[in-house]
């Protein structure tokens, strides 16, 4: 929307131009503020999620030890300084839920899609700022409900983050399946609403609100990644909502979608007949697998941008990167069965899913090789963001390769639900995605807050986190190959696993070091918001459009007209230029400004960036998606 129109209206309503505290910081409709809200909520949830992992790591490393502090912290769940087995399950569950949904979905894609989509495609704001605001507040409500569920008397949901019924459906099956589970379902339902509101917005903004000259093939790879992520979310989250609704029906209204042939100790044979617990798993993983890419793709997009900028070199194989993102996005919808090889589904179906799953390795390999090729003959500046991006590539390789083991149905018989799986997904989607998030934070912090973060602290943060992440997750491969099952409260009752006690201790110590290393980041982040060095307009000498906006935030992003885009985002180290970067928004000195090359003239008439009406943009997006216009 145009600034002029917006401000005129704004001024006529308020005598003073100043926005109130609430409309500026709380119910803000400015995408930059919403992205900060997502980020800070995400960081707080991340601290809680990580704290939980440290608690259960303590239990795994020293199962016989008593920690007085646990009783102080947890009350009845930490009686005599030992974590209660039920609460251990609750910790594992809530850790997973928080990390997967609240930190790496909302905190990552919510933050950076909101910040970067309008800034990098050249739009004044999102297609619908109001929906954008709602998206954050649904997310906030969802977070609050989830946090409340931890304090429920019967404990939080404890059936694992996948909450498979019947364990999660029967209140008598475990304490966590009572009120805690109800709140979990409420929280997830709210979360899905938030995610859909956001996703629809991202898609319509990318499709319809690009500035003059910003054709699809000139978009930074971040935008491509956010775009595919949003499409995945919009298509898959509703299925989870369906799964959750059926579960709510089964829990509260006596239906039997997921229940059949159950005898519960202390209750007797249940009436439910005809349902199937495996149905839930199909529905869940129909979201669950795209969800993995919803988490990972924004991180990959951020990495592409950061690596290209800091290597002072065009990203290698832009088209191949986009195509492999697209390939990953499409394939991610037809591979969910690889989470279910040993649920007793038809073995033939298993082989189909195995073949489709292993195909994903090809686009993933292309991406990894392209990152390497981008670094090759670059001129690498090791900003903290760059280091985290390189860390991501390292995790993406080492975690991705183990996917070839797990995607193979035959090997999955042995490795399913073992620590090998824990190692695999914590590297490839946990650590990799969180590193992508850190890279994004360090890189775009000047854009978000107008100040710089301290680089030295960033380096310490990176190296401690990188080393401890490898120390935590790499040894888990070995445990998994030895057949150590995951989600065990302790291993002392099974003599066979005694040899892994020292490894468990190593992992816990590394995890604690990793946790402490995050204090560097937290200090750096919150201190720099208020006291950091003032940022220049383009601190990383980057090409993309967001660095053409003023340092001080402005509702509407650009004070004057939105700049026109003249070329792709990765024109670094052009031989004919003295500087090693050439921003997208600077006209070519040799060519006349008014005549861009290669049929880009169609773009401005198509895009109409001056449009003020949000919902018409939204409808235009839908029309375009379905080919109606």
């Amino acid at each position: 929307m145009s600034t002029a129109a917006l401000h005129a209206e704004h001024d006529s309503h308020h005598h003073d131009h100043k926005e109130s505290f609430i409309s500026k910081y709380v119910f803000s409709m400015d995408h930059k503020m919403i992205s900060r809200q997502f980020l800070i909520t995400g960081i707080i949830m991340g601290i809680i999620g990580m704290g939980m992992s440290l608690l259960f790591r303590l239990q795994l490393a020293w199962p016989d030890e008593q920690f007085g502090i646990l009783e102080t912290l947890l009350g009845k769940w930490g009686k005599d300084g030992k974590i209660d087995p039920n609460f251990y399950m609750g910790l594992v569950t809530i850790h997973g839920t928080i990390m997967v949904f609240y930190v790496l979905t909302a905190g990552l894609s919510g933050t950076f899609s909101n910040l970067l989509i309008p800034l990098q495609v050249g739009a004044r704001d999102m297609a619908s700022p109001f929906m954008n605001m709602l998206s954050y507040w649904f997310f906030f409500m969802s977070s609050v409900v989830l946090l409340i569920s931890i304090f429920v008397e019967t404990g939080p949901a404890s059936a694992g983050w996948t909450v498979y019924p019947p364990l999660s459906a029967l209140e008598k099956a475990m304490p966590g399946s009572g009120m805690g589970m109800t709140l979990w379902l409420v929280a997830i339902a709210l979360f899905i609403v938030s995610s859909l509101l956001g996703g629809i917005n991202y898609i319509s903004t990318v499709l319809n609100m690009r500035t003059k000259g910003m054709s699809m093939n000139r978009m930074p790879l971040t935008i491509w990644a956010f775009f595919f992520t949003a499409i995945l979310g919009v298509l898959s989250f509703p299925v989870l909502l369906g799964a959750a609704l059926f579960l709510i029906f089964d829990r509260s209204f006596g239906t039997s979608f997921y229940l059949s042939d159950i005898y519960l100790e202390g209750v007797g044979a249940l009436e439910n007949i005809g349902g199937s617990p495996v149905l839930y798993q199909h529905l869940f993983w129909f979201l669950g697998h795209p969800e993995v890419y919803i988490i990972l793709m924004p991180a990959l997009g951020i990495t592409s941008e950061v690596i290209s900028t800091n290597a002072r070199k065009p990203i290698f194989g832009y088209t191949a990167m986009v195509i492999s993102l697209m390939g990953i996005a499409i394939l991610s919808f037809i591979v969910w069965g690889h989470h279910m090889f040993i649920t007793g589904m038809n073995p033939f179906l298993g082989s189909v899913f195995m073949i489709l799953t292993l195909i994903i390795a090809v686009p993933s390999a292309v991406k990894a090789f392209n990152y390497l090729a981008t670094l090759w003959k670059g001129n690498l500046r090791f900003t903290p963001a760059m280091l985290f991006s390189i860390g991501l590539v390292s995790f993406f390789i080492s975690g991705g390769l183990t996917g070839i083991y797990l995607g193979n149905a035959a090997m999955d018989i042995q490795l399913h639900d073992s620590y090998f799986v824990v190692a695999h997904f914590h590297l490839v989607m946990g650590s990799a995605a969180i590193f992508g998030m850190f890279a994004g934070i360090y890189h775009w912090f000047p854009k978000m807050f107008g100040r710089m973060m301290n680089n030295t602290l960033g380096y310490f943060h990176f190296w401690f986190t990188f080393i401890s992440a490898y120390l935590v997750f790499f040894p888990m491969h070995f445990m998994g190959l030895a057949g150590v099952p995951r989600r065990y409260y302790q291993f002392t009752l099974l003599k066979e696993f005694d040899v892994w006690m020292d490894v468990n201790k190593l992992i816990t110590v590394a995890a604690i070091i990793g946790g402490i290393a995050q204090l560097f980041f937290l200090w750096n982040f919150f201190y720099s918001i208020f006291k950091g060095k003032k940022s220049t307009q383009n601190p990383w000498e980057s090409n993309t459009l967001e660095w053409s906006t003023p340092v001080e935030h402005l509702h509407g992003n650009w004070p004057g007209e939105i700049p026109t885009v003249y070329r792709g985002p990765h024109e670094y180290s052009r031989p004919d230029r003295e500087l090693d970067y050439f921003p997208q928004y600077l006209p070519d000195e040799t060519a006349p400004v008014t005549a861009p090359q290669e049929g880009e003239q169609t773009a401005p008439t198509e895009v109409v960036p001056e449009k003020t009406v949000e919902s018409s943009v939204f409808f235009a997006a839908i029309k375009r998606v379905f080919g109606l216009s």
């Binding site: 109130s20 609430i22 119910f27 920690f67 102080t72 009350g75 009845k76 300084g81 409500m141 609050v144 409900v145 059936a159 019947p166 009120m179 409420v186 059949s260 042939d261 159950i262 044979a269 009436e271 290698f316 040993i342 649920t343 390795a361 090809v362 390999a365 090789f369 390497l372 090729a373 090759w376 003959k377 670059g378 690498l380 500046r381 390292s394 390789i397 390769l401 083991y405 090997m411 018989i413 042995q414 399913h416 073992s418 680089n455 030295t456 602290l457 490898y470 190959l481 030895a482 057949g483 099952p485 065990y488 009752l493 099974l494 003599k495 204090l519 200090w523 031989p575 919902s615 018409s616």
Partner: protein, 505 residues
């Protein structure tokens, strides 16, 4: 949907911007209070929902009992971190003031990458050396496990190669191409030949792995020996039981409706099932009695409740009072009665279903009588087995890492896994040099608090004779005819049971 923003602006839907707060009689324009009030309003329904269950204070507020030393250590650790953090600020300040670069971080990071790479690879090698022998690779105790292990080695060879190459390149590039202000990065966008190569080569390797995986998987899951001996493995919260067919070599049918204290697997055996019906009828009678007396008990509980409140015992015994209050609330709100009705209805359904089954001679064909329910599994080397899995309550997963066997046990969906053991327990003890070694079947699907301790021992014996000797020591479900048969409730007072026996006879 109209244009939301415009609509909202026109209709002045941003009421909260201008809202004047009047909360608890205090008029306030304070933004902080407004915000709080809005949060409060949004969260009230959820608080109400969870109100009764939320614990106010987990333990009594008694700072003396807290673990102050740990807390202090934690606080100290955080403080130290913050001090270190500040000292870095000072470092960068001195750099700024003196104008000299003290540390070239770009070089430090480039070198750190190389050091990390070298130490990391040494670490992988070291871990392999220390724990390599515990990995379940190459010493599979089952026949199919060997094909699976070879599959593993192929994949390992390929991925480890790629892993080392790419990680080395990554950190080497990091070192080699570190920033130099006199150099300009290369300017190129793509190289079609290179890209085609690194798309095609992984594709070929993966095709090979897929084909191999496909054949291995198909062989394991579908190539099942017709003469395999069946063993039923039954998972429940929290343990396992096994069932052998017994002398008639025929496994009797089973159903979750037949499960009772004396019939843990719910096998279709007439006398056990009839006594279950009797038991259920007895419980229904009891529940009906409780339901009939519900008014009297409400009065009693009310009297008790009033006594607690009037004498002040409610504050001196908060725990007891809380329990009593919730019971009393259940009674007066009718929740207790509804629960009773539900229980009665469920038990009636169970009886109805059991009676329907009892008319069916295919279910009650008498083959279950000699079935043997055991608390350990004994199998014979080189003999094909098929494990039939059932779960009683929630999903469990039968995991025998030594045999490369895993299959979920799903309530309502029978599953199975076929395998042939090729190494006896004694042999495994000898090779592992551990005289106490035993094979175990673990639970590998989260199933509740004691999930971590849900296992059953598997013993592989060398000869059929050993197995038969063991099986002979196990008692059949119904003692053989020589011993007096269990009474089949001839004078059953419930009509339901009579019907059942009549049909059977």
């Amino acid at each position: 949907m109209a244009d939301i923003s415009k609509f909202a602006r026109r209709k002045n839907l941003f009421w909260f911007r201008k809202m004047k707060l009047n909360l608890f009689g205090v008029k306030s324009n304070s933004l902080f209070k407004k915000t709080l009030a809005i949060f409060g309003l949004m969260l009230t329904p959820i608080f109400l929902l969870a109100a009764d269950d939320v614990v106010a204070a987990p333990t009594e507020f008694n700072p003396m009992a807290w673990d102050w030393s740990s807390i202090l250590t934690l606080v100290l650790a955080i403080l130290i971190i913050l001090v270190i953090a500040r000292s870095f600020d000072i470092g960068s300040l001195t750099e700024k003031i003196t104008g000299k670069t003290i540390v070239s971080w770009n070089n430090v990071n480039a070198w750190a990458g190389i050091i990390f790479l070298v130490l990391g690879l040494i670490g992988v090698w070291y871990e392999m050396k220390v724990h390599g022998k515990y990995l379940k690779l190459g010493d599979s105790a089952s026949a199919h496990g060997e094909t699976l292990d070879s599959m593993f080695y192929w994949t390992f060879g390929f991925t480890f190669f790629v892993f080392v190459i790419t990680e080395v390149l990554l950190f080497y590039f990091m070192y080699k191409y570190k920033y130099d202000k006199n150099r300009k990065a290369a300017y190129f966008f793509h190289n079609n030949k290179l890209e085609i190569i690194w798309t095609i080569v992984p594709a070929i390797v993966l095709t090979f792995l897929v084909l191999r995986g496909f054949s291995t998987w198909t062989k394991i899951t579908t190539d099942i020996d017709k003469n395999s001996e069946e063993i039923e493995v039954f998972g429940y919260q929290f343990g396992w039981k096994a069932r052998y067919a017994g002398d008639d070599k025929q496994m009797g049918t089973a159903n979750f409706n037949f499960i009772s204290g004396s019939n843990p697997l719910g096998v279709a055996e007439d006398s056990a099932v009839s006594s279950l019906v009797q038991e259920l009828n007895g419980e229904i009678v009891k529940l009906e009695a409780v339901k009939a007396a519900i008014e009297d008990s409400s009065k009693l509980w009310k009297a008790q409740y009033d006594r607690y409140v009037s004498t002040g015992m409610s504050s001196s015994y908060p725990e007891e009072f809380k329990i009593m209050k919730s019971k009393y609330n259940d009674l007066i709100s009718g929740a207790y009665e509804r629960q009773l009705e539900k229980d009665i209805k469920r038990k009636n359904t169970a009886i109805k279903r059991i009676l329907a089954y009892q008319k069916d001679h295919e279910t009650f064909n008498g083959t279950a009588k000699d079935d043997k329910i055991t608390t350990e599994i004994v199998i014979v080397k080189n003999k094909p087995y098929i494990l039939k899995f059932r779960a009683r309550d929630v999903i469990h997963s039968a995991y025998i890492p030594e045999f490369r066997v895993q299959m979920n046990c799903v309530p309502g969906m029978p599953t199975s896994f076929a395998f042939t053991p090729i190494r006896t327990t004694a042999e495994a003890r000898a090779t592992k040099n551990d005289p106490e070694f035993d094979y175990y079947l673990f639970c590998n699907k989260i199933c509740g608090a004691a999930h971590y301790n849900m296992k059953i021992k598997i013993t592989v014996v060398g000869s059929e004779e050993e197995y038969k000797t063991w099986l002979a020591t196990q008692t059949p479900f119904v003692a053989p005819p020589a011993a007096p048969a269990a009474p089949t409730a001839p004078k059953a007072d419930s009509t339901a049971v009579k019907q059942g026996t009549v049909v059977k006879n």
